[in-house]
């Protein structure tokens, strides 16, 4: 440990959608690393500890080191030449960088999509169908006397969700914290989150929709046949008891995870939980919220929505935004073989997409921006190494409940940040597109913000 130590208070952890902004970081400025992250959970500690300065080049083309400028030029040429270029990722970078990425898509008339399409995209679709009664997390802390988690395992994925926001904290109308709340967990297996709950309900895999719909019926006073137990693994008595709890609480919340969106039923499951929440508002105050994963996936939804009107899966081929999940979402554009160039920002689809999509990635020029080397950067034609948001850069991120937070940088990185690279690419693609169309405008005169 060197003498050159700095403390950064109220820093923000962006490892998960909890976006805890109460980090106290101890930074060794000589060694350029964070040696302690007070208040962080086990995941947050790893996030801060492991984001040190790497030893790979800022930019590579086909695995060979090149200058940043060469890589930007090659990226711009590749994107402008392509007929169906796609941009994907964005959930682990700042809103400032996301704004630039959407601008690039608009200019090159490409397609932009975020990791939302493979996490809570179905919840986004459900939202468009039925709406949602929801809240900021502080309302749960202050008011919720009934907290239900469905198809999610925060103990593993969002370790401080319980302790900072929803279960243990004392709140304005919850003076005794945990004691004043009833906690229910619904899942297909007993996850590490189960010990937190007063009641664990186990559903047969793929039967969430049936259970949710039965709950809706019961809430509305309709009869349900006891054979529901055989179908779903949950007895009628259990359902009736849950309905009773939901109708009689003061402020109830239903959190749900990818256990609902990634399985049979997808957006129908999310829609059922949102509709159930709406129904319950006839009896008491009830809210729901998808538990979002990545640090700024919610920011990506917001930036795309304000710039284009749509939250993900947006295509600009016609010179204006169009939205069509299944057509413009990334798994589809890759699996169908439509994409003829791809830029992946702060995301690693080559390690978690369906096999057929990964195979197509290997056939087209890929550009990657990431803080670490990944399967995706390994197969990339152009690979940029960038600095880490919230550790080396400030900027804005949105917590899972749409609350925006400004990050504090802990130490400088020799690597550029995503926003810098994307801004440079944007300027260059704009020039190339204008040149192609024979338009003479100096950059700066037109809006390229």
């Amino acid at each position: 440990m060197s003498e050159n130590i700095k403390i950064v208070k109220n820093a923000t952890c962006t490892f998960c959608g909890c976006v805890c902004d109460d980090m106290e970081l101890t930074v060794d400025l000589d060694e350029k690393r964070i040696i302690k992250a007070k208040n962080a959970c086990v995941l947050g500690r790893a996030w801060f500890a492991e984001h040190t300065i790497g030893d790979w080049p800022v930019a590579m083309i086909d695995g060979k080191e090149v200058s940043k400028e060469e890589a930007i030029e090659e990226t711009a040429q590749t994107l402008v030449k392509a007929k169906f270029p796609i941009i994907y990722g964005l959930s682990d970078t700042t809103c400032e960088a996301q704004r630039q990425a959407v601008a690039i898509s608009d200019i090159i008339r490409g397609t932009i999509d975020t990791t939302t399409s493979v996490c809570h995209g179905p919840s986004g679709l459900a939202f468009q169908g039925v709406g949602e009664s929801t809240m900021s997390l502080g309302e749960v802390k202050n008011r919720a006397d009934l907290v239900i988690y469905w198809g999610g395992n925060p103990a593993a994925s969002h370790p401080r969700h319980f302790t900072r926001y929803t279960v243990t904290p004392k709140g304005m109308f919850i003076p005794n914290g945990r004691k004043d709340r009833t906690v229910v967990l619904v899942d297909i297996r007993k996850t590490p989150s189960a010990p937190v709950a007063d009641l664990f309900i186990q559903v047969k895999p793929g039967k969430d929709f049936e259970v949710l719909w039965a709950l809706r019926a019961l809430v509305k006073g309709k009869n349900i046949d006891p054979s529901i137990e055989e179908e779903t693994g949950v007895s009628l008595a259990t359902l009736e008891d849950l309905v009773d709890k939901m109708k009689n609480c003061r402020y109830g919340v239903l959190f749900f995870g990818m256990g609902l969106t990634m399985t049979r039923g997808r957006h129908f499951n999310s829609g059922a939980i949102m509709a159930l929440t709406t129904d319950l508002n006839e009896f008491t105050h009830f809210v729901t919220k998808p538990v979002r994963g990545h640090g700024n996936v919610t920011g990506a939804d917001n930036v795309l929505s304000w710039q284009t009107g749509y939250p993900f899966g947006v295509n600009f081929n016609r010179g204006y935004p169009r939205f069509n999940p299944g057509e413009f979402t990334t798994v589809d554009t890759l699996s169908r073989g439509d994409a003829d160039a791809a830029m992946f920002i702060a995301s690693d689809p080559a390690s978690n997409f369906p096999k057929v999509a990964i195979e197509h990635m290997k056939k087209i020029p890929v550009i990657s921006l990431d803080t670490k080397q990944t399967e995706t950067s390994n197969l990339a034609h152009v690979a940029f190494a960038t600095s880490t948001y919230g550790i080396n850069t400030g900027g804005t991120v949105y917590r899972m409940d749409d609350v925006p937070i400004t990050m504090r940088s802990a130490f400088d990185s020799p690597y550029p940040d995503d926003e810098e690279i994307l801004t440079a690419i944007k300027k260059r693609v704009q020039e190339l597109v204008w040149a192609k169309q024979g338009i003479k405008i100096a950059v700066g005169e037109a809006r390229v913000a």
């Binding site: 995941l43 790893a46 492991e50 999509d113 995209g121 297909i188 890759l334 096999k355």
Partner: protein
Amino acid sequence: MAETMILVPGRSSKQGTALNKGKLKPEYLLVTSTLEMNSDDMQRLGLEEGDSVRLSNEVGETVVTCKGRKPEDLPSGILFIAYGPPSSQLMDGDTAGTGMPISKNIEVLVEKVTVKNI
């Protein structure tokens, strides 16, 4: 012996910490290729802790290492794995018009691999 079971890829906290080290690092590769299985099921299939199993379906196949879980924690017939390159091999690219591939509850054939380190 082979049986059809349901594979549920998900997140684990071990995966989360390993991820920060780097996705190409051995720790990450290890967590994403460790399969959790009901211990009764393991016994029936003649599997022991650390044995290699092949998971396959019409999309593809992958070989992972299995690890037992108590029956009260993981129901019979359900397999858990942390997302990663191995689970990708079994995911279908069809999203049924939603953008979301079915990434949980994938039906797979489970069989013991007799020759290790394929």
